[in-house]
Amino acid sequence: MSDDISQRVVGDLIEGGIDFVTTVPCKQLAGVIDELDKSDQIHHVPSNKEDEGMGLCAGAFMGGKTPCIIMQNTALGVTINTLATLIQFYQIPLPMLISFRGELGEPVACQVEMAIHTKPLLQQLGIPTFHFHKREDVEELPEILKYTQMCSKPTAILTDATFWRGVR
């Protein structure tokens, strides 16, 4: 975990107008969550489950906020109905910053099981998906945030272990 990349990500979220974030933690995202809590420009609401978090984001959006959800890819399994019947059905823009567990560098075998399904599920749902693997991929984050608002869709930003370590 590198603090400078977490600072960069949270800085880009703030710069991109994100002012409401719900999280369910992942080890890979611990630095980002720390940075969120340091910021007074983002209202951070930890949630107990990712679909609950998406409900909070939908409400916040209707109240004029620009929300983002931060979660692990394993949570796609519990959010498919919410993505289809709330976020997509009502056309709510929602960037999902997702830790992509189960990729190279993964120590836990079980994480690979959902990693295999992550991109096919997102593709099946018609969710624009971006994969941050190299450190410089972070440069696309500001454009992805604009793109999400432009098309009023959920978007997935998959961030793998190599990205967070900054090694190839």
Partner: protein, 187 residues
């Protein structure tokens, strides 16, 4: 008194409030009785009514009433600790607890048996939890809206349904007219 009768009794109290309404028959009943741009009807997504309501209450100044059900709260139990630990005094959660999954044919829920939602909410840390009889709901809700404290109301009522038409308003229209109203009231 069943849920649709509870709705009839609370319409005068909520007609001018921002309302997030639970999926299925509750939204259909509210739509039939008192369709308003200030009503956000959930057309899908079982369980998230209270979460959407809390998110909305956190994001702006106006009072928000989330009208949820026992089955929906049971589906999203994690919502109660989140509500308890993120107090916003413009939020009222009304749980119409008829002890059954009304929209799917009145199959019993556990709240009609041993589980008390009011006690669960209290155990989760919610401060102002009121359990009331169906007949008292309108008065309790009115008082909650007049007091500036986040309140959880558990209204115990009978199960049973009436025929109601489906909602045919497109979801984006429901969302857009609701947001226009929210924006206007926060100016």
């Amino acid at each position: 008194m069943n849920r649709s009768e509870v709705f009839k009794s609370i319409v005068p109290v909520i007609t001018d409030e921002l309302v997030i309404c639970n999926i299925g028959l509750p939204s259909q009943e509210l739509h039939m009785l008192d369709d308003q741009p200030t009503n956000f009807y959930m057309l899908g997504t079982m369980g998230l009514c209270s979460s959407i309501g809390l998110g909305l209450a956190m994001a702006q100044r106006e009072k928000v009433v989330a009208i949820d059900g026992d089955g929906s709260i049971l589906t999203n139990f994690g919502t109660l600790p989140t509500i308890a630990n993120n107090v916003v005094d413009n939020f009222v959660l009304l749980i119409i607890d008829n002890g059954s999954y009304g929209s799917t044919g009145d199959q019993p829920t556990y709240t009609g048996k041993k589980t008390s939602l009011a006690k669960v909410a209290q155990a989760c840390g919610c401060d102002n939890v009121i359990e009331c009889k169906a007949e008292e709901t309108a008065d309790v809700l009115k008082a909650a809206l007049e007091g500036d404290k986040m309140t959880i109301i558990v209204c115990k009522c009978e199960s049973g349904n009436i025929p109601v038409p489906n909602i045919t308003i497109p979801p984006v229209v429901i969302r857009d007219r609701f947001m226009t109203e929210v924006e206007k009231r926060n100016r």
